[in-house]
Each structure stands twice: as C-alpha cells, then as structure tokens.
C-alpha cells in the first residue's frame, strides 16, 4: 500500500458516459494485482472530503488505468483533470482475485461499470486458461466490453445480445462448459451479485464476487465498509478483507 502522487496522463471516452483515464503511478503499478482498487483524492482541497475508490482497470508499464462514469461531484472533478495534473492516490488496496488453481476456463461476469477490473485480470490470467465474458447492461450503450474477450452480452431491453439479465444468460450458456473446470469472476451491481451468488452456491460453482461499499479510508482503519460474513457472526471489511470474496463467504 502506497500513497503516491501520480501524474494524470490522459482521458478518453469509451462510450457516451464512460471514461478511461491513464495515470503515471510507477510504484502502485509495480505492485498491483487484478481485483485490487485505489482510493483517489479527486481535488487539491477538502472538497469533496473523502477519497473515491476505483478498481484498477489495467496496468500498462508505469501506468494504471481506471474506468468510470460521471456519477456525482467526485467523478465530475476527476473528469475535468488535465494532462500533467497531480493525482494523490492510495493503492493498491484490497485483496484481489485469486487466480491460481485448477480450472480451465475463467468465466467473467460483469454488469455495467463492473467490467472495470477485468482488462487487468485477463492480462494476468495464466496463458493456458480459456476466457469467456458475460456482460450485461440496461441497454446496448451501457454494455461495457472494453478490454474483454469472447464476449456474450445481455441487455434488459434486448437492444443488444440476450434479452434479460446477465445471470440468466450465464445460466443458459454455462451448460456448454464442464462444471468442475470453471471459475467465475464477477463484478457488478448488488442485485446481479446476489443472483449470481445464489446460483453459484446452489450449483457449487467456484465463484468470486467483487463487492462495493461506501468507504472512507479504503485500507481498514475506519470500519465503514462492513459486509456480513456468511455465518452472520461478524462483519468483514470490503476494503481490506475484500473487495473480492468467495461467493460462500458473505451475506449480500
């Protein structure tokens, strides 16, 4: 975990609402793992007060990439950065995806901005793994396939790919894969993760979920980001114990 004053390098629009920013941040880039995130100070003053957490979308040499939509004031300010601006970043934070193990196919399941962590994951997966990606969105222009491989899409309104949720699509398509040889990596809105969690547990799939939560610190000192453990006995911290959890670890 490093607090690095990074240099804003570029911003590009991926589609109407989504931006990709590239930041020169050599120390964080050197130690980052897929599924980890950074907590970014989006302004030079105390407004907004808190940092904003973003998944590491990709690492390219000394650069880290982030993928985001304009949501509120913080992302609006981030979007107005100019090349050369300094960006105060804490990272890499959190646990990251477990990549090692005995599986043939990495099944990526992403909803909306949930596609963000996967370009980096795909880059880091061992070369012998097959990859298939299921991506959902409300409509065609909200389906984010940036940096993904072998993509199947689903939209709520049927404007692209399967007409329905990405988890419904997954259920149908998974029949084509042999159960014991896949591992699911997922990230997206809570209802999607919940449906996927249920499905994975019922069917005994090996499945990792990337969770979100309101956060203050992002590294375990504020206790602001709890998620209930599966047994209901304690709270885990999304920022430190996660954001990646096994599907059977948490109660959503």
């Amino acid at each position: 975990m490093i607090n690095e004053f990074s240099v804003f390098r570029s911003i590009d629009k991926i589609n109407d609402s989504t931006h990709l920013i590239k930041v020169y941040s050599p120390s964080i880039a050197a130690s980052a793992k897929p599924g980890q995130f950074c907590n970014i100070k989006v302004s030079d003053n105390n407004f907004p007060l808190l940092r904003r957490p973003f998944s590491i979308c990709d690492v390219n040499g000394d650069e880290i990439h982030f993928l985001f939509d304009i949501h509120g004031e913080g992302t609006r300010l981030l979007c107005n950065k100019k090349n050369g601006d300094t960006l105060d970043i804490l990272g890499p934070l959190g646990s990251g995806f477990k990549i090692e193990g005995d599986y043939d196919t990495a099944v990526i399941v992403a909803g909306g901005l949930g596609s963000a962590p996967f370009p980096f994951l795909i880059k880091k997966l061992p070369a012998n793994k097959k990859i298939v990606s299921f991506v959902g969105g409300r409509s065609k222009d909200l389906v984010l396939t940036y940096g993904l491989k072998n993509v199947f899409t689903a939209t709520d309104d049927g404007s692209d790919g399967f007409n329905g949720t990405v988890v419904e699509l997954l259920k149908m398509e998974l029949e084509n894969f042999s159960k014991n040889k896949i591992r699911i990596f997922s990230c997206g809105p809570n209802p999607m993760l919940k449906a996927l969690q249920l499905f994975s547990i019922q069917n005994n799939y090996d499945c990792q979920l990337s969770l979100e939560s309101a956060m203050a610190c992002g590294f375990g000192i504020c206790q602001g980001c709890p998620v209930e453990s599966a047994d209901g006995e304690s709270y885990l911290l999304v920022c430190k114990d996660g954001p990646i959890f096994n599907a059977d670890q948490v109660k959503l």
């Binding site: 607090n3 203050a216 610190c217 590294f219 000192i221 602001g224």
Partner: protein, 305 residues
C-alpha cells in the same frame, strides 16, 4: 526543529509531541503503520474497546456530508481479551504512547475494563468514552448526564493510578460544566469533542443513508464547534484539555492549541491522508521556530482576547 521542545504533559500523561491519533480512526495501528511512521507520533488512542467483543452496526455505516462525514460504526471491536492478546503486542513495538479508549454500558463495566487493563505496562493512560452517539446503551446516555460523568470518573480513578481522560460529548449546552465535574471527581484531563449527532436521508427512497438512522459528524465541518467547546472549557476550568475535531493540518492544530488544548487528536484526516500526523508535527515545529516559541506548551491557551 532546532531545539524546539515539542513535548507536552497532559495531566500526567507525557507525550513527545502533542499529536495523538483519535480513537476509532486508526483501528489498532497496524494498517496505518504501512503509510506512516508511528514511532514519530505522540500517541495512539485505540478504537473503543469494550468488555465483550462488539459486532458493530449493520451497513451502511458512513456517509459523506459537506466538509464532513457521518459514521455509526457502533463501537465494533474485538473485546478486551483479544485486545490484550492480539493488539497490545503489536502496539508495544512502537515508541509512541498508547492510550486505551474504553466504552461500556454501565459504570461497573467501565471500572471492570480498567481493572483488567491497568497493569498492562504498554498502556499509558485511559480515555473513557462517555460520548459515543451511535450505541443504544452507554454513550450519550452518560455523556449528557453530569452526575453519571462524575461517578464514572471517580470510580475509574479509584482503580488506577494512570491518567484518566474523559472524552466529552459536544451535544450539550455547557460542556464546561462537564469538564468541571471531571476535575472535581479526580479526572486528569478531558478530551473534546466527540462527534455531533447528525443524519442524512436519501430523497428517493426516503430512508436514512445510515442504517443506524443517526451518526456522528466529524471532519472540517465541525472544527468551529470543536474550537468553541475547547475555548469554553479553557475559560471556565483549569483541567488539561485534549482538543479534537476537524483538524486537517498543522494550522488547524495550532488554532486548537491556541484556544486551550494541551495536546490534540486527529481523526477523519487519517482516512484521507494517513501521513497527516507527521506532516502536522513538522508544520508545528516550523511555526514555533517562526514565532520564536521554545516550548510548544507555551501555545496552549495563548489566545489574545
């Protein structure tokens, strides 16, 4: 830094500098140690520990507000047993004063906790949290009751020789009355302020953004209130004060000392800048040098009114 004496003595608690990390904002020190050198910090106040472990409140626990944040963590903590076996050993390694913050729901429980902990050499003082706004029992029930605060102070003092600091609630009309009672009851210092009660609602769902409904407001937004409370105590009592509330940088820290604080705690800023404590220490030293202050304790209560 040339020869400026940054050390302070707060009601018997000796600190190498006046910077303390506030309870609940650094856990038990291990995570923040990755970003900052705890050996340079005056002291660490641990997350409130209670007799039994507490799970804490369900999510959502925090929300950002203009220049502040609300939290309702609900005193989540490992409990006193694990605190002794797992947390103290780690904290011992650092050359910084360890102040143990205690939360409880009865007077007896406060006393019991202190009794269990009093012989831990590593603990240099106790901070008694009578002002947590986010739990049903204890917390503000005590913090807003003069008699209860007096009784707790007295009973806790009767079982330990270590300095006892009472952490006061700002959610009262006259905080100085509480400071006076602490003094009369044998308390060594007060710390002020804990968070202000606040809330925030989602206008679409009409639900509270924080599951606990209300939370405690901290951060720069409350700095003017914290300064006024510390000043009020200083002008009405001679008990040493540890100032807390909205300190983001060395300027805020100097301001807090000027209005009356002998030492101060930084809380919310740790979430944003985990190295803030060290930056504040060097800022303080430079300020002293510039203003020809030899001992930082000269700053305490040096307001010109």
């Amino acid at each position: 830094m040339n020869g400026i004496d940054l050390s302070v003595n707060v009601g018997g608690l000796k600190l190498k500098n006046p910077v303390l990390l506030a309870s609940g904002t650094v856990g038990y020190g291990n995570e923040i140690a990755e970003f900052t050198d705890l050996n340079k910090i005056g002291g660490i106040v641990t997350k409130s520990v209670s007799l039994k472990p507490r799970k804490g409140n369900p999510p959502q626990r925090i929300v950002e507000t203009p220049s502040g944040m609300l939290n309702a963590i609900g005193l989540a903590n490992v409990g006193i047993e694990k605190f002794i076996t797992e947390k103290i050993p780690f904290l011992k390694k650092y050359d910084t004063a360890l102040i143990c913050n205690i939360a409880a729901s009865t007077v007896e429980e406060y006393v019991e906790c202190v009794r269990i902990l009093k012989d831990e050499d590593a603990i240099k003082a106790f901070e008694i949290n009578v002002s947590c706004p986010n739990v049903k029992e204890g917390g503000l029930e005590f913090g807003n009751d003069l008699k209860a605060v007096g009784r707790i102070t007295e009973k806790v003092k009767s079982v330990t020789d270590k300095p006892v600091i009472i952490k006061l609630s700002p959610n009262v009309s006259k905080i100085s009355e509480f400071a006076k009672v602490v003094k009369q009851s044998g308390g060594d210092a007060v710390s002020a302020i804990n968070t202000l009660v606040g809330t925030s609602f989602d206008i679409n769902t009409r639900r509270p953004k924080i599951k606990n409904i209300t939370g405690g407001l901290s951060g720069p937004a409350i700095k003017p209130v914290a300064l006024a409370k510390v000043l009020e105590i200083k002008r009405n009592s001679d008990i040493p004060i540890i100032g807390i509330g909205g300190i983001m940088n060395w300027k805020d820290a100097v301001e807090m000392m000027i209005v009356g604080a002998s030492a101060f705690q930084i809380g919310t800023v740790n979430f944003i800048n985990p190295n803030a404590g060290l930056e504040i220490i060097s800022g303080l030293a430079e300020y002293c040098e510039k203003h020809n202050i030899k001992k930082i304790s000269e700053l305490t209560g040096s307001y010109q009114i």
